[in-house]
């Protein structure tokens, strides 16, 4: 099922699937796995936005005043069965296994971070993507080799998938000299424009959106159509700059691939008090771009939706908005016990744990045996141990280096276009003529 917005007229979402859905059409040549026949039909919501999920949870969180007590209460259907994984149209068996490995790596690395925190080896707090590993890893895994990405705080898995090591993230948290920012910043606040094409996030939400649109613009001026993937929460997308960035990408058909991680809690504020729409993907209609709803705890849905958005970006057709429904399974950061989350809500999503579901899926398909699984997890643990040891033993930065690097000077960077010198699209041989004097203020 292709991603389709209602704003594109004269074709139903169903009809468009045949037209725009791609299967292994990329340069990197990923064949389909033939599993798509089994996948059930895609629903569309009341606004015509495709909804790939195999269940549509129905519940609502509200503020309740109960005597002196004020708390959040959840009402709705919370005992529905856990849905199956939607078969991927694009992932091969080997890719399923590789993706699973990244997700496990993501989680285990965060457990290691938590332990480092408990041992007081971390400077500041630690942020987790528990429950969001599929959303981070499968989306990053769907990028082409040249594509760019900009993770948010919970997308540490994406950093691993795109070539960073656990030690990089650990050293960021431990503020070590050998961290990607040399101790200048912490957490996921680092990047790499040379090789791994990761743009550093900042703490302010939404500011990455126009930046990623700009990366796509810069590459296009050099003759290259890139997919530029970034994520934002249901909370983060409330910012004004989010609108500015998405709208600009839509107007100029830039290769922004935006995943809204609807993880239901913006720090302590539930989605119901953040936005007055049920599906944030509906906003794609307002932006004039395709939108799609997926189950963010289903790695196959995340991969396939991102893959199609990436393909669309590579074709120069513009941005895509993917809303991934899931829940943040820990507090905002390690200090936050998330006591405001109703227990039955946590329980509902715990049953939908993305790694458990994917593991079960792979075991049932017999693509993975319990023995292989155990072996793989042991190997990951071993690797993370080695990474942790390296990070722990690396030195702190020298104080005086705080004064370095404010400006790019003395030849510290050789700035040149990454994808080739832009063509001089000169339209005339004309020279500069004096401008006319009719101006805004004289």
């Amino acid at each position: 099922m292709a991603i389709k917005s209602k704003s594109e007229k004269n074709s139903s979402a169903k009809a468009s699937a045949k037209k725009t859905s791609l299967n292994g059409n990329r340069d990197t040549g990923r064949p389909g796995n033939g599993a798509s026949m089994k996948a059930p039909a895609v629903r569309v919501n009341q606004y015509g936005i495709p909804d790939w999920r195999l269940e549509q949870p129905e519940f609502e969180v509200r503020e309740v005043t109960d005597g002196p007590e004020i708390h959040y209460e959840i009402k709705g259907k919370l005992n529905t069965p856990v849905p199956p994984i939607r078969e991927s149209k694009y992932l091969t068996k080997e890719q399923h296994l590789e993706l699973y490995r990244w997700m496990v790596m993501n989680r285990r690395m965060e457990v290691a971070l938590e332990n480092l925190y408990k041992q007081s080896k971390v400077v500041g707090g630690v942020y987790f993507g528990l429950g969001q590993e599929a959303c981070s890893c499968a989306s990053a895994y769907a990028l082409g080799p040249d594509d760019w990405f900009a993770p948010m705080i919970r997308n540490q898995g994406a950093q691993l998938v795109r070539g960073f090591h656990s030690r990089d993230i650990m050293m960021q948290y431990m503020a070590k000299a050998g961290s990607p920012t040399k101790g200048k910043d912490g957490t996921s606040h680092y990047g790499d424009i040379e090789k791994r094409h990761m743009v550093s996030p900042i703490s302010m939400l939404g500011d990455l959106l126009p930046v990623m649109a700009g990366v796509s613009l810069g590459a296009r001026l050099q003759g290259k159509e890139l997919a530029c993937l970034t994520w934002i929460g249901d909370g983060g997308q409330s910012t004004g700059v989010s609108y500015e960035g998405i709208n600009f990408a839509a107007v100029r058909k830039l290769g922004l691939v935006l995943i809204i991680e609807s993880n239901l809690w913006a720090y302590s504020t539930p989605t119901e008090y953040q936005v007055n729409v049920k599906d944030l993907a509906n906003r794609a209609i307002g932006y004039g771009m395709p939108g799609v709803i997926i189950d963010g705890t289903d790695a196959c849905q995340v991969y396939d939706a991102t893959y199609e958005a990436v393909e669309r970006a590579h074709r120069g057709e513009g941005p895509t908005l993917i809303e991934a429904k899931l829940m943040r399974m820990k507090g905002h950061a390690i200090h936050d016990a998330a006591a405001y989350v109703p227990k039955e809500m946590h329980e509902f999503w715990r049953k939908r744990d993305c790694i458990d579901r994917f593991q079960k899926y792979l075991l049932e398909k017999k693509w993975l045996t319990p023995a292989q699984d155990k072996e793989m997890i042991a190997a990951i643990e071993k690797e993370i141990d080695a990474e942790r040891e390296f990070a722990e033993n690396s030195p702190m930065p020298e104080g005086h280096t705080a004064a370095e690097g404010v400006y790019c000077e003395g030849g510290c960077h050789d700035i040149k276009p990454k994808y080739g010198m832009p063509q001089k699209a000169r339209r005339s041989e004309g020279k500069l003529k004096e401008s006319e004097a009719a101006i805004h203020f004289k």
Partner: protein
């Protein structure tokens, strides 16, 4: 009020490859030349394409360079700066226009937190220029007259440039584009079409970070920048008739400041007036006074004097705006007092 092309000190017609140009035309020339010589330079902003910009700085550019290098955007300043930064990460050199510098507040976070800190935090250079008209005297009111330099002078990682003459405007826009850091390029809109001088045609560069002695004098120094350089010049003409010779230092770059030039003039004249069009509290004059205190305290023969706009928003009605702005008579009066001190 300001010097015009009648003023011989602005002319140096004996030099070769010179032609008269207004402040605005000089900026246009600098931008055009850089776009001609470097295909990675492109312009992005509101109404800069077919319309040519609210002040016509990019008039005719889209016809010559095409729509891919002169990009009209939605009315979204954060998107403009963000997109410019993103493109810069791929090795481009974007020149983003603010239709009026007052609107830079709309992109404050993007500039201060995303762009200015990127090299320090994660080693990503941001070779982009943020340019546009600032300043009062044109009855633009509170939202079309401001001088928003100080929040950015106060932001590590930014460079801030504010030329006062056509030659400097041209030489500095070229330097700003070639710089590997984010440069805020403040064009004083009062000067756009009011001053004219001989401007070198090609290869003319004015380095960022270097002040200029606008007028030599022995009795006291006026350290200033942008449109106030011309206010100081008019005051100097009046004072010269009274035998008071003031030295005018045009800072040209507000960040990083040319501490040496500031120190030198104070050591020479021993008395100093700090003059700017921006409001007083938290204005650059306070910083300049601190530098003089640190570098040349023993050389002072009188109090450091500040002449600035009032600590109010920029008022709209002409008599109010006239009262608000620093004037020639303010400089003359304060200079006489300081000279007699």
């Amino acid at each position: 009020m300001l010097r015009s092309d009648r003023d011989p000190s602005l002319r140096s017609g004996l030099r070769k490859n010179m032609a008269q140009a207004t402040y605005l035309e000089a900026i246009r020339q600098g931008l055009w030349e850089e776009m001609e010589s470097d295909p990675t330079v492109f312009c992005i902003g509101e109404d800069i394409g077919i319309y040519g910009g609210a002040f016509k700085v990019t008039d005719g550019f889209v016809h010559h360079f095409g729509t891919s290098r002169v990009i009209d955007t939605p009315i979204a300043e954060s998107a403009i700066v963000g997109a410019a930064f993103g493109a810069a990460l791929t090795g481009m050199r974007p020149v983003a226009e603010f239709q009026f510098m007052d609107f830079i507040g709309c992109a404050f976070n993007q500039i201060v937190n995303m762009v200015a800190k990127s090299h320090y935090r994660w080693g990503a250079p941001a070779p982009l220029v943020l340019r546009g008209p600032c300043g009062g005297g044109v009855h633009g009111g509170p939202f079309h007259s401001q001088n928003p330099e100080m929040p950015f002078v106060h932001t590590p990682g930014m460079k801030v440039v504010a030329p006062a003459t056509p030659s400097d405007a041209k030489g500095l826009i070229k330097s700003a584009i070639r710089d590997n850091n984010p440069v805020l390029f403040l064009e004083h809109k009062f000067l756009y079409r009011r001053i004219k001088e001989d401007v070198p045609e090609n290869g003319h560069i004015v380095p960022i970070g270097k002040a200029r002695v606008h007028r030599e004098g022995r009795d006291l120094s006026v350290i200033t920048y942008a449109a106030m350089v011309h206010t100081a010049q008019e005051a100097a003409d009046i004072l010269a008739k009274e035998g008071i010779e003031i030295e005018i230092i045009d800072l040209r770059t507000l960040c990083p400041l040319d501490r040496e030039a500031i120190t030198q003039t104070v050591k020479k004249t021993n008395k100093v007036i700090l003059l700017h069009e921006d409001t007083k509290t938290g204005g650059l004059a306070g910083e300049l006074a601190a530098i003089i205190n640190e570098e040349a305290f023993d050389d002072l023969d009188g109090p450091i004097v500040r002449i600035t706009a009032l600590d109010t928003p920029v008022p709209f009605s002409p008599p109010l705006e006239h009262f608000f702005l620093p004037k020639v008579e303010d400089v003359v009066r304060e200079a006489r007092k300081l000279h007699a001190y």
